[in-house]
Structures are given as C-alpha cells and as structure tokens.
Amino acid sequence: MEQHERVELLAIHGLRKTFGDTVALNGVHFSLYAGEVHCLVGQNGAGKSTLIKILSGAEKPDAGKIIAFGKGHRYFTPGQSLEMGIATIYQDMELVTSITVADNIFLGHEIMGKFRLIDYTAQNRQATELMRSMGIDIPATTLVESLSPAEQQILQIVKALHFKARIMIMDEPTSSLGLEETKALLDIVRKLAARKIGVIYISHFLREIFEIGDRVTVLKDGQSVETFDIRRVDVPTITRRMLGRETIFNRPPSKPGGPILCVRSLSRRKHFQEINFDLRRGEILGFGGVVGAGRTALMNVLFGVDRADKGDIILNDNPINLSSPRDAIEQGIVMIPEDRKQLALLDLRSLLENIAIVRNEQGSPWIDRRREKGAIAALIERLGIVTAGPEQLAGSLSGGNQQKAVLARWLLIDAQIFIFDEPTKGVDIGAKEQIYQLMAGLTSQGKSILMVSSDLTELLAMSDRIAVMRNGKLITIVNASDMSERQLLGLFVGVEGTEQLAG
C-alpha cells in the first residue's frame, strides 16, 4: 500500500457516544488522508450525524481518541475544530442570504480600510480571485438569496477555503440538486482533493460515491463495519454491508389495465406545452428529465395547485376541472410532494393528526377519537411506520417514516391516482425499499401512479413506461424495460449532451 507515504490528517479510534439509553456510536474507527475523498455511508440512525457532530465540536464523545493533524484529543470544542481547519458544509445553508457573496465570505473578518470602514473593493477582489481559483464564476456582489442551492453550497465551500480548511465534511451535499448541479459540485470536490484537502463525503447516492470516492466506510448501528478501497468494491457489497442483508428491490411484473387518466394538449405558459399522455389502471408512469424540464409544474396542474391555460384532463372518460387540491382529492387524485417538509408535513403535530388531516372536509365536524385511533394504528402497521406511537411528533420521525406518513393520509381516504414527486429523496436505503414495495402494492390493487424522479435506477426499476420531458415538452414515452440508464440519460438532455454527463 502507498498509504503510509501520505499525510494522515485525521485518525479516529474506538469512538463511543450514548444519548441516554441509546448508543449512537459504538466503536467507530476512521481515518482521512490529505487529498483523499473518504465517503461515509449507512442507513439513517447508523451514526453518521453523530460522528459529524463530534468532529465539528457540537458533541463530546464518551470514549475514544481523535488524532487530528498529528495531535491527540479526547474531544473538540466548536472553536478548536474550526481553528484546526475542520469545516462542515451543512445541508441547510449556514449563510446570511440578504447580503452579498463577498460579504458572506468575509463575515466577521471584514477587510478594514480607511477610518476603520469596510474596504468593499478589496473584499470583492479577493472573493473573485478565490472563486476563480476554484473555477467558479459567480460575481462577488451577487446577493446570496439569488443564488441557486448548488451555488450556495459552493459558496460555503469557498468560505471554508478562505478560512484555510484542511478537512471538509460534506453532509448529503447533492440531495437537493439536479443533474447538472450535482456534476458541478462533484467537480469542485475533485478540485478540493487536488489541493490536498481531505474530504469526508456523506451521501445516500452510491453512484456519486463511486464517481468521486477514494475509500468508503460503511457505518451500521453505530459501528464502522468496514472500510473499502473504492476500486475494490461494488454496489451490492456496500448495500449488503449497510443493510446486513441482500437487497435491490425488484418490482414484480405488472399488467396495467385500460386508461384511467387522459391528458390532452395540456399547456401552462412558461412551464409546459401540449402535453398528451394516458395513465393506465395499475400502471406506474415515470416522468424523467432534467430539473426544470416542467415535470413538477405539470404535476402541480394535475393536483389542482396551478391552473392550465389550455387542454383537457379526462378522468374515467369525464373531463374534470381542477381549481384547487381539494377538487383533485375529491376526484381521487393525490400528491406526495418532493419538498415534504414545506409542502406536506405538519412537523409540530402528531403522526395521527398528520394522517387524519385529510378527513377534515368530509362528514361530521366532530372527531370520533376511538375510531380514528384504530384506523390510524392499522395504517401505521400496514405501512410499517417506525414510531413510538401515533402521538409522536411528525417532525421527530426519520425521512422515510415521514414519507410514509404522507402516503398514509392518502390511503386513509382511498385515493385512486397517486402523484409521487421524487418519492425517495432524503430517504435512506432501507426505507427506500419499503416505499418501493408500497408503490408496487398500490399498483397491484389497481391504483395508478405518476412518478417524477431524477434517479435513473429508480425510474427504470419502478416504471412501466417513462415519459421523458425536456424544456416543457413531452418528448417521448418509452417502455422502461427497453431502456438502459445511458439511453435514458441521452433522451433527458438531447443526445449531444450524453457523453459529458454520463462520462
């Protein structure tokens, strides 16, 4: 091995951390070399977040040893961690969005000019230089709020660079990014490694890990199960280690019936034009394309959130008029949106209330608490929602269980057509499988599904047919079984872009 020649930035031995009776970390070993991208994978609750918190100084371990830059520590304070050059790039941005890019980089350490006033010219110049050196082209005077989520993440990275970070921890950096943005971010990660920065990269997307990782460590139940050289391991091995069993969900073959929902010439100005398709009974119709292709806008019209300018939506041979989500729900069309937290979840309310909310416009104004509790307990059981009970706050459930809670509310009113927008985003691999199983279960009961997804594997594995959208137009509808990932990607971007993206 050539590893002994390299500079070891970080070594963790036998790290242990408990919260009350829960053991979050139970003997974690981990190391990081300069210029290495070391990926960390594991199901939710495997201990990834706790490990990050310890490294950033937010939590103190109970036992174990951390050797950072050659010096041993029992724990870090947040200040020590930053000072040593450990920077964490968080999922939810830690930026002040109402000020400029340069102001954010220098926040708290402004360059002072005459009369102890901020020298904006110097700040903007230095910020631009810093970003150029990373190949980023964002004007230093842009307001952060006008940046895309990807650009905001990149800005956080640049800011960390400015503070001479030598270790960068990235927690699910691409979970809210589209295809091109992900590619741009991965490029930046490679550049960081080239600068001899050690990157700890956490992601649910194994594809990314194989693209940029040098090594990968699998965490399970608070233990580091094994560390692999990325060149000597494959996806099945990693998932097996994460789950402790064989995986990869296979949807049983389906036999869709006749058309249930027909969309004709549906258009909404600036979003999509002349969309035509039929959804069949018991079918999963996937919608693929790059972010901004108009897929979510189309689903919003089908769920009554936005209005179409022209065209028809025909349900069971009857044209329907959808002017609010209420109308759609009454027709049996329901949506499980992509942005669960903002658009679906009542995080301060109980799991029970989150599910029962859809009953509100129906029937008696009074609540039969006993019957309700019974119905919801049955749903919790049926969907396998892991919870302390129906009274648990929805905000404290894991991503996968939150997603199931949203699905449960629509099962409560026996909906017919389910619109899933990115059904497994932010969901760990175990819960992901269960959601696939639930979707397959719905179709075998004759329910139909429209599924928007940016995950090629998911689209191909789950869909009967895939509708490809590009620039607001429905380009083609293909049979999922006829396609490879590469071909599908080619359709998303128009063939000329295929090589760079898939390359």
Binding site: G20, F303, V305, S324, P325, R326, A328, I329, E330, M335, P337, Q342, L343, A344, L345, L346, D347, L348, R349, E353, A356, I357, V358, R359, N360, E361, S364, P365, W366, I367, R369, S396, R409
Partner: protein, 323 residues
Amino acid sequence: MSALGTTIRKRLLANQWSFLLLVVILLSLIAGSVNSRYWWVGNLTNLLGQISVLSLVACGATILIISGNFDISVGANIGLSSVVMAMLMRSGVFPPLAAFIGLLVSVLCASLIGTASILFQAPSFIISLAAIGVFQGIALFVTQGTIQTIYGQFETLGGLKLFNLIPLLFVIALLGYLVVHVILSYTQLGRCIYAIGNNPRATYLAGINVNRRKMIFFAINGLFVGVAAMLLLSRVGAAQPSTGTGIELQAIGSVVIGGAPMSGGKGNALGTFCGVLLWGVIGNALNMMRVNPYIQDVVVGMLIILAVAVSSLRLRAERASLE
C-alpha cells in the same frame, strides 16, 4: 430524590400549565402569609370576577394564535361594541337585544380583519393594528367622546353570584374555556386550527379550504370579544370608546405564557387559563401585600418576564433532550 419523586416532578414539569399552576400557588402562599385576607372567600371570588373578561378575550386569542393569526384590535373592538350596546340601551332598546346587536358588531369587526387579511394576503397583525384606529375612531364619532352610562339597566350578568358565592361572570368565562377546549380537541375545525398554524401551505395541499377556515377563526374570535364586551359593560355599568384598551396585549401574553408559540401550531385552553390566572393572581397578590400602586406595574412586568424566561428555558431543555 426517590425514583417516584423524580417521575412526579417530571410529570409536573412536562406541561406548561402545571408549571404555571405551581407559580400561582407559590405566589398565593407568599401573598397569604403577608396578608391573611388574601385567602378570604370574598377576595378569591373577586379575583375570579376580575379575570373573567380577560379570560374570554384570551379564549379568542388562543384560537387565533394557534392558527398563526393575530387580532390586536380586540381592545378597540370591545370599546366600539360596548359603546354600541350602551347607546342602544340608553335610547330604550330592550337591553338583551341591544347586547345582541353589539355582539354582532363585534363579530363583524373581527370578520372584517380576517377578510382583509385573506383578500390582501397580508399578515392579520398589521391589518388589525390599523383597524384599532378605525374602530376607536368610529366609537369616538358616535359618542362624541362621552361616557355612556346605563344606570343599572344591565346588571344581572355582571353582578349575579351563583349560590351567593361564585360570580356568574366566572362561570361564563369557564364555559368559554370549555368551548375552546372542545373545539381544539374534539372537532375537525380544531385540527385545522393547529394544522394551519403549523404549516398553512401543507394544509392547503392536504385539501383543506384554508381561507374559509381562517374566516371562521376570526368570527369565533369576534364572538368571544363580543361576549367579553357584554360582561364588561354589565360589570362596569358604563362604556366609553377607550373601554378595553390594552386588553389585547394581556390576552396575547396569557396565551403565550400558557405555552403557545407566537408562530402558532401549538397551545391549548388549559395553558391559556393558567396564563390568565397568573396575570390575575399577580395583580391581586400585589394589592394584598400593599405594594405601592406605582410600583405594581413594574413588579407585574418583571414577574411576567421571569415566568416567560423560566418556561422558555424549560422548553429548550425539553427540546434538547428530545434530540
């Protein structure tokens, strides 16, 4: 401390209301030891009467705040509707009918704020702030700024004591709390109050007609305010445009002290009741302890800040232990 003691302590501190009740009892013990007249039945029933009007206003505020809305014009609303009641009674209208018309005025005023807030998609806080001037101005215009005395025409509500002991006012206030509790816990409307306060967009996408619900919340608030105006008029025997001034902040304060966050989505009737009780007991206890009236406001303010500080620290500790 024994394991049992620890569980009891945890249970007791688990709810905002039980914490407030503890404070109330503590304050009462102090006041009672300084001046034993604090425990006299006359003083206690007087205390209950004193908090009745605030209770009803706080009942309405509970529903609005949990749903993420505010109506800070309720003080001015009381001024206007009680003046309307009093003027009608003076001009010879049958008093209960006059009171009913005043009640309608109050519901109308509150509903207007809800309508404007929905129509212009503006925060109800600002709309109701502006409405204070409108309501008070109208009241000043119709009365020409004079006090409207009704000379004992409408005393029963305010003066009657059940079993010669419990003020009818307080019984009505208790009914108010009961109504709020039933709405919040046993009706679909109550679920919507919490849901809309927690996440209005998600509630809309779950198929709820959020705007219609919001209108209902404001109308219910108007109903509570109208009854409060009625009780106040009956108790005082006169109304003027400035009647009710300042009660909105006490009401909002009670709800928030009672455990509802300013951002909505949480809270309950019992919490509000304890918040109101705390407010009432502080005032009464200070009187009993013969604290200089000029200093009383200072002490009231400081005690409220203390109560809020302790409960907010407690909530933070609770949240930290959840994570």
